[in-house]
């Protein structure tokens, strides 16, 4: 896509309002994007602190730091906060900042709903976190909240958990609707669907997934609520219900959800690799089709999370093959990224380092996913640390690395300042080493049979657990450096040019740095 660079002299100098109400009342996509990103950073640090409580307890065998009950609350909240508070809002924040600028739109289509969808989020997480201080403690049934653990045996705070999930769901749905309406209706003339930047494509597909499955999640927690308080028996066998049904409904939401957390990452990484390879992306249209196929397949693989519940053989085989089929479009994407780098004029600025690490480490996570897709193998791996290693490889050096890459890549455009490249590279290497030291050994202890979700373990797992905990603290501490780098960049630094990166393409690089409060009030010309 090529764009004619225009100078945007806004005739009406309408800047942001002053003070706190600017953020409270704002309907500006850039402000709301910033709010989402800071919120997700805060949640990332809170969820990360919980992860460190977990790893501190697992540093040695035996119980040393926390009670088992509190440990269960930590693993539950860690999962919920990182998924719903960390990764998802970060992607929505990036969508807010970037989608309008990438398609040449002046703002999101529904600015007031945009404000609402952000501002209900802090309440959701306030409710969820406040359950830590309630009688009986916070939810302790794992982030998958399987019934009857989350119904019959749940602490009283489960009702607050249900309400907070409802609010998070409402926020996600509103955000997704906003993204779809914006992309479908507000593209500048000339930006056809197959000319859209891949981040926009990835978010269009993600938004449809969100609209399809977040209401199902809301339905699942509503059924829990009714079982707990209104005497229904959706998941209670005594009343004719079925706990396995809960797992089917949950994973019908849950599997598309994991693609919700990775598709935008695919978009981000495509942009960054393209820029720092100084080449056009290899296989644009196959990238789009790959994302579409992954999204469609995500609806027919949910039971691979449930191979051990006693599915009939035919179902086990169907879900096994369907799951393995996803490796094909994913493989296409990895191939295209590598082919884009092939014979490119590569430079290794921090965003590129994170993007390359994403390609390598996400592929490792994908391969362990393929191992888990094999039914007989999964009978052994199910609920072991191998599964923990697998999904942390796709989420931490997958989704989260892509978010960090995006922040380094676009922060010069957002703030007008270049980040400190030396500190950025230091942050990358500390994170890269930390994440691998943390999660790679978990493959070994998982294959050796260590079950997940326990606060204690048998002695033979002690060495690798200690290594894993050391890595976790390294990774955790290096995120303080990330916070420092971001704050330092926002406060000042070398001024960024409008294009920022030599190889950068796309409409967002045609506006000034920092991006003016209002961009593309008149649509840009795109060939």
């Amino acid at each position: 896509m090529s764009a004619v660079i225009e100078n945007h002299h806004d005739d009406h100098h309408h800047g942001p309002a002053k003070g706190l109400t600017r953020w409270l009342y704002t309907t500006n996509h850039k402000d709301i994007g910033t709010l989402y990103l800071w919120f997700s950073f805060a949640m990332f640090l809170i969820g990360g602190a919980m992860a460190l409580v977990i790893r501190a307890e697992l540093f040695q065998p035996g119980m040393q730091i926390v009670e088992p009950e509190f440990y269960n609350q930590m693993i539950t909240l860690h999962g919920l906060i990182m998924i719903f508070g960390g990764v998802m809002p970060a992607f929505v924040g990036l969508a807010n900042w970037l989608v309008p600028m990438m398609i040449g739109a002046p703002d999101m289509a529904l600015p007031r709903m945009n404000n609402l969808s952000f501002w209900i989020l802090p309440f959701a997480f306030f409710i969820l976190l406040s359950s830590l201080f309630m009688e009986g403690g916070a939810p302790n049934f794992g982030w998958t909240f399987y019934a009857p653990l989350s119904t019959t045996y749940a602490p009283p705070s489960v009702t607050f958990f249900i309400f907070s999930v409802h609010i998070m769901g409402a926020s996600s749905i509103m955000g997704a609707i906003n993204v779809v309406v914006t992309i479908m209706n507000m593209r500048a003339p000339g930006v056809t669907l197959m000319k859209m930047p891949l981040f926009v494509w990835s978010w269009l597909i993600t938004a449809y997934l969100l609209i399809a499955v977040m209401p199902v999640l809301a339905g699942a927690v509503t059924m829990m609520l009714m079982d707990i308080h209104f005497g229904t028996s959706f998941f209670n066998a005594a009343g004719g219900g079925d706990p396995v049904l809960f797992q089917h409904i949950f994973w019908f939401f849950g599997h598309p959800e994991v693609y919700i957390m990775i598709l935008p990452a695919f978009g981000i990484v495509s942009h960054i690799i393209e820029t720092f390879s100084r080449k056009q992306l290899f296989g644009y249209s196959s990238m789009v089709w790959a994302m579409l196929s992954i999204a469609i397949l995500s609806f027919v693989v949910w039971a691979h999370h449930m191979f051990t519940v006693g599915l009939p053989l035919a179902a086990e085989l169907f879900f096994m093959w369907a799951t393995m089929l996803i490796a094909v479009p994913t493989g296409v994407k990895v191939f295209n990224w590598v082919a884009t780098m092939f014979k490119g004029s590569l430079t290794f600025e921090t965003p590129m380092l994170f993007a390359i690490a994403f390609v390598v480490l996400f592929t490792i996570g994908g391969l362990s996913g393929l191992m888990l897709a094999i039914v007989p193998a999964d009978f052994q791996y199910h609920d072991t640390y191998f599964v923990v290693a697998h999904f942390h490889y796709v989420l931490v050096p997958g989704a989260i690395f892509s978010i960090m890459a995006a922040v380094y890549y676009w922060i010069p455009k957002w703030s007008g300042n270049m980040y400190d490249e030396r500190l950025g590279k230091l942050h990358f290497w500390l994170s890269f080493i930390g994440v691998n030291v943390t999660f790679f050994p978990q493959h070994f202890i998982g294959l050796a049979g260590m079950p997940r979700r326990y606060p204690d373990y048998a002695l033979q797992f002690a060495d690798w657990n200690m290594v894993s905990s050391v890595g976790a603290f390294l990774f955790g501490v290096s995120q303080i450096l990330f916070l420092f780098i971001v704050v330092k960049t926002v406060m000042g630094g070398k001024k960024a040019t409008d294009q920022v990166w030599e190889g950068a393409r796309g409409l967002e690089w045609t506006v000034a740095s920092p991006a003016p409060y209002h961009t593309f009030t008149t649509p840009p010309k795109v060939d």
Binding site: A176, L217, G219, M223, A237, A238, L245, F252, G310, P312
Partner: protein, 190 residues
């Protein structure tokens, strides 16, 4: 907002409650799917199993397992742990049950069959699991189940396990539970 955008918005806003309803629709869909395919190990009442009666059936082991759910304090066990039966013949097995508490309680037994692909071939003419049992303090009873295993049972199955889990349903709305159980039993009548 232009009319096109309004149209997109309207479609998406309609999609949300539809998907919410779809979540709830999964509940009956799941039950119907399990009944049609017989994969949930559930056994259903069958009134017209007479045509399945044959003289020269093959021998088969039938094991019984009883489980008490959660804090259900009753004594609950099969009179015989194992029976050797023939396909195509009627048998009656009994379970002993006793209310060991000092209050009147209501129980509901929920059956399950393993292997699950045997469930469709295990026909029950009558079963205590079709209704609830109310026992006074200290009262006991022998609960019968009358069944037949169809000769169409897959060849490789030589043993069937019929297990019952007994639930305390004293505090449940009797009618709702009974209604649910009733529907489940009669949907599969041939």
């Amino acid at each position: 907002m232009n009319p096109e955008a309004k149209k997109t918005l309207r479609r998406l806003v309609i999609a949300v409650p539809l998907m919410f309803a779809f979540g709830f629709a999964l509940v009956p869909l799941y039950n119907v799917f399990c009944e049609v395919t017989g994969i949930n190990g559930k056994v259903f009442q069958s009134d017209n199993a007479e045509k399945l009666v044959i003289e020269d059936g093959r021998p088969l082991g039938l094991q019984f397992i009883s489980t008490n759910n959660e804090n259900m304090p009753w004594t609950f066990r099969p009179s015989e742990d194992v029976m050797t039966i023939s396909t195509g013949k009627y048998y009656t097995a009994t379970f002993y049950v006793k209310n060991t508490t000092n209050k009147t309680m209501t129980a509901q037994a929920v059956p399950s069959v393993a292997p699950s692909n045997a469930a469709a071939h295990l026909k029950k003419l009558e079963c205590f699991c079709f209704e609830q049992q109310e026992l006074k303090p200290g009262e006991d009873a022998l609960l019968p189940v009358r069944l037949l295993v169809s000769d169409e049972l897959p060849e490789n199955i030589e043993n069937i396990i019929l297990s019952y889990t007994i639930f305390d349903v004293t505090e449940y709305d009797d009618e709702a539970v009974a209604q649910h159980m009733h529907e489940e039993h009669h949907e599969m009548e041939h």
